[in-house]
């Protein structure tokens, strides 16, 4: 009596329930089994595993999923035997039991048709046989420790049973849109509740006026001529005074009620808001707990030994981000085991413990969510990588020698890049890293890799906290509020106008013995000219060292914690803006993207178009030079191209990646765009595609300069709408300039 084919709806929901239970129970089961592998006789964990298997068996029977009953039953038997000390849970039984967990998921999967017979049934038979063999006495014989078993168990109890109840709480699904609306409404009710306070305050003023009125009546009464204290005027006054007193008391009572109402509703709205906010976040651990198992299994399969350490498990992460991280994290972990960790023999030889440790860490840092995947393996051989890059003719030997470590490591993220052919001891680490980068980029994040020879490799994912609270400095620019994330600021100061000095027409100030150039926020954000009023300038110092700028804003409005809200995705990335938020009074505020802002300041400074607060610098070129936009994320390539073009008389603007390029190309006019293909945030192909869709940019010539020299890459570039495709492999001065002149003619004229 197979249930999977039954079109009975009630049966359907029962199966769904089973699946939900399976999800939580198998989590608990896996966790317990993994711990048991290290401490095979731990009573609380044996108990937890047994209980999970037992309840799964019971539920499977209720939904009449007989194959699942068989599997769960066999697992339970095995665990009971271990509890009684007749079986020691060495690696073989644990392997078999873990396979059982997978098998249960397979049986419960709606896609698995006819579990009674067919391939699944065969798998079940195979599993039962394997489990029986693994649990056979001769397997268990080597460490025959039945009488000793209770001993360590007695030591164990304080380590507490598995947190089954915690993860056993029922989860429900809810759409992201409705969650966002819920959060919006909760925030709105908070704002509404806050209006009660000013209202109550206005009533307090009314009460004071009542008191003044009473005093006035008293003084009128005091001026009555002697002998008329009991006359009609006095009596009328008495009546008025009484009525006023009644009114005052009634007001008093209402006011007390209002106070209580204010307190209650503010408290309620606050709780509602915080709870809604918290429910969007999930602890990091929820999303990554399952990897402990993946790491162990994969390491075993590769003849290695590895353990996963999760740090910062309680760090709150936005649900959406956590979901999207699943694939890239899995990929990086597999990579770390496969390519990062050495074999046990090698590790012993290097004086490291045989068991490799992979650290998965989450933390909030500088307004970003950072996730680190750290292995303690051999690290990446940079010399070999440089060699591989050259032998694969991605770049000339000279240029390769000049690449920084970071630029060199960036090659790992090129599609299809592998070091396998070139070197044998560091095998193809690059495989699939481009996929990781693509996925991370989709959540507007960055991935970076650092390595230390002999000590390991670290992958750092930096992701935005789409919905998280960040601390900001509120400032006013052009009459509107902007929030600068505190993490991006060095300091704030007020500078008297006299302290501003000019050098080559550019304003700067002295700060701690350093000269800091001033730029106005108006100019960076394209909001027109700053009004020169007031004696002091409000300056925010951003960036550090030689790259520091003093950002002049109109006014400081204080520090504020804001809940980051994404902007309408249709707007695309707005240059210099990261997100939006609501202030206490419900007015919107924009959160500034500090990285973008620094880049903008850099570019303005490089282009010499910084006007700062001293007004326009004048000196317009007599003859218009052709303008070229160079888009490349590598500083070396970018500067090389810039110098080259500049040398030939072209006016050059630069953009540091596709997104930046897209912003620049829309806001200024150019005669040509020269772009790289592989770039963070937005690649060259996407940039060209976007430009070709834009009516104003459709006819702007585009040249692609890329490392990729395969025919299909060329095709892809030209198909997207590029006018010319130049490979960096054949990157000679003349070729580039020749191609530019072919496309748009000489620089002047």
């Amino acid at each position: 009596m197979s249930t999977s084919g039954t079109p009975d709806l009630s049966q359907f929901s029962m199966l769904d329930l089973f699946r939900a239970e399976l999800e939580t129970q198998s989590q608990a089961l896996t966790q317990a089994l993994l711990t048991l592998e290290r401490e095979p006789t731990s009573a609380p964990h044996l108990e937890a595993a047994m209980r999970a298997a037992h309840s799964l068996k019971g539920s499977a029977r209720i939904v009449e999923l007989m194959p699942a009953v068989r599997v769960a039953h066999a697992m339970e038997e095995c665990l009971v035997a271990a509890q009684h000390g007749t079986l020691r849970l060495s690696r073989a039984p644990i392997d078999a039991l873990l396979r059982g967990v997978d098998l249960l998921a397979l049986v419960a999967d709606p896609a698995t048709e006819g579990a009674e017979d067919g391939p699944v049934a065969a798998q079940i038979d195979g599993f039962l046989a394997a489990l029986a063999q693994a649990a056979a006495p001769d397997h268990a014989a080597p460490p025959p420790a039945p009488p000793v078993a209770p001993e360590p168990a007695r030591l164990a109890p304080p380590s507490a049973p598995e947190p089954v109840s915690e993860s056993g709480e029922r989860m429900i699904r809810i759409t992201a849109t409705s969650m966002t609306r819920l959060l919006g409404l909760a925030g709105e009710s908070l704002i509404e509740a806050r209006r009660l306070r000013p209202f109550a305050d206005s009533l307090t003023r009314l009460r004071r006026e009542h008191t003044a009125l009473a005093r006035a009546l008293d003084s009128v009464r005091a001026t009555l001529p002697p002998g008329t204290e009991d006359g009609p005027t006095a009596q009328a006054l008495m009546l008025a005074r009484g009525a006023l007193e009644d009114g005052r008391q009634a007001l008093e009572a209402r006011l007390a009620e209002l106070d209580a109402l204010d307190r209650r509703s503010t408290d309620l709205a606050n709780r509602l808001y915080n709870e809604t906010l918290a429910s969007r976040m999930r602890p990091f651990e929820d999303g990554v707990r399952a990897y402990s198992r993946t790491v162990r299994d994969l390491a075993h399969a590769l003849g290695k030994s590895a353990r996963l350490e999760i740090i910062g498990g309680s760090t709150g992460i936005d649900r959406d981000i956590l979901d999207q991280l699943d694939a890239p994290l899995g990929h990086l972990l597999r990579n770390a085991i496969d390519h990062g960790l050495e074999t046990p023999e090698q590790r012993r030889a290097a004086g490291k413990p045989e068991e490799g440790v992979i650290r998965l860490e989450a933390r909030h840092h500088a307004g970003l969510l950072q996730i680190l995947i750290v292995d303690d393996g051999a690290g990446i051989d940079l010399a070999a990588l440089r060699h591989a890059v050259v032998t694969r003719r991605l770049i000339g030997a000279d240029a390769a020698a000049g690449l920084s470590e970071g630029e060199l490591l960036d090659f790992l993220f090129l599609p299809g890049f592998s070091m396998k052919e070139a070197v044998s001891d560091v095998s193809g680490r690059g495989v699939g890293l481009d996929a990781v980068q693509t996925m991370v980029r989709q959540v507007r994040g960055k991935v970076r890799v650092t390595t230390q020879p002999g000590a390991g490799t670290t992958f750092l994912l930096e992701l935005p906290l789409t919905l998280s609270v960040i601390r900001t400095l509120l400032v006013e620019i052009a009459g509107e509020p902007y929030a600068l994330p505190l993490a991006g600021l060095t300091r704030t100061l007020r500078v008297p106008r006299e302290a501003v000095q000019l050098l080559e027409g550019r304003p700067h100030i002295g700060l701690d013995g350093q000269r800091i150039g001033l730029v106005t926020a108006h100019e960076l954000l394209g909001l027109g000219d700053a009004e020169a009023n007031g004696d002091d300038l409000a300056v925010v110092v951003i960036g550090s060292g030689a790259g520091a700028y003093g950002l002049v804003v109109d006014a400081f409005r204080g520090e504020r914690e804001l809940v980051v809200r994404p902007l309408d995705p249709r707007l695309g990335k707005i240059k210099d803006i990261a997100a939006a938020a609501l202030m206490e009074d419900g007015a919107p505020v924009l959160i500034v993207d500090m990285d973008d802002l620094l880049r903008s300041a850099d570019k303005l400074a490089a282009a010499g178009s910084l006007r700062g607060i001293a007004g326009p610098r004048g000196s317009a070129p007599a003859q218009r030079r052709k303008r070229v936009l160079v888009v490349d994320d590598s500083l070396t390539v970018r500067e090389l191209e810039r110098k080259l073009l500049d040398h030939h008389g072209y006016e050059v603007e630069v953009a540091v990646d596709g997104m930046d390029g897209w912003n620049v190309v829309r806001s200024e006019s150019f005669d040509l765009v020269v772009t790289d293909v592989d770039m963070p945030r937005m690649d060259g192909i996407e940039l060209v595609t976007l430009m070709r869709r834009d009516p104003r940019l459709r006819n702007l010539p585009v040249m692609i300069v890329s490392y990729k020299d395969r025919e299909e890459d060329r095709r892809r570039g030209l198909d997207a709408g590029a006018d010319y495709y130049l490979t960096k492999g054949s990157f000679h001065d003349e070729t580039l300039i020749q191609a530019v002149t072919d496309l748009i003619g000489p620089a002047v004229g």
Partner: protein, 204 residues
């Protein structure tokens, strides 16, 4: 339209009801009355259904000097205008910034820019109050725009529709698909989905 109902028993008039009124209520039904009503109710509601199908509810509002109508189904909210925040680096005149509506940050657009409506001169400003109108549907995200005046919902019948003038009809891009005769104004009926699509494209 009350159907005859023989459950009403007029034999027990409430205290204080005059005998005359009691008699009026208790009078016997005329011949064929019940049969006629039974036929009426049993008849299929062909005409009314047709009338309702052609009658679509629209929201009538004013932008500058033009009165316009939007399918009511697309309008999710009409509220007081509130402070918006401009977006830096946006040079187009369509996107006016972001605005908070019930805790949701929406893009505020100048609908008149898209439609090319004429600005109202001072004399024509009228007495209405400006309103923030939020539009959107299941597939398309919501946007907000400010109308100079909102009349409210109007059920518009097929018979009220007029063809567009040739100057509008022949123009390349247009969003009005018909004119509605309403209180002496010719109100342009907007093609909602097309308008929302165009707004979506305009934001990018």
């Amino acid at each position: 339209m009350a159907a005859p109902d023989d459950d009403i028993k007029p034999d027990a008039p409430a205290a204080g009801t005059s005998a005359g009124a009691g008699g009026l209520l208790a009078r016997p039904l005329p011949e064929g009355y019940r049969a006629e009503w039974a036929r009426h109710i049993a008849a299929p509601r062909r005409e009314t259904e047709a009338a309702q199908a052609s009658a679509a509810k629209v929201l009538i509002f004013r932008l500058g000097r033009e009165w316009l109508a939007l399918p009511a189904g697309l309008v999710t909210e009409i509220t007081e205008p509130r402070r918006s925040h401009s977006l830096p680096h946006r040079r187009d005149r369509l996107v006016r910034g972001i605005v908070n509506v019930r805790g949701e940050l929406l893009v505020k657009v100048a609908l008149g820019e898209l439609l090319g409506t004429a600005e109202a001169s001072d004399g024509e400003r009228g007495t209405g109050f400006a309103r923030l109108v939020v539009i959107g549907d299941a597939e398309r995200r919501r946007v907000a725009f400010e109308a100079d005046e909102v009349h409210g919902l109007h059920r518009c019948m097929e018979a009220e529709l007029r063809p567009l003038p040739a100057t509008v009809e022949r123009a390349g891009s247009r969003f009005t698909d018909a004119l509605i005769d309403w209180q002496g104004h010719a109100v342009g009926r907007l093609d909602g989905p097309a308008l929302l699509d165009a707004l979506g494209r305009g934001l990018a």
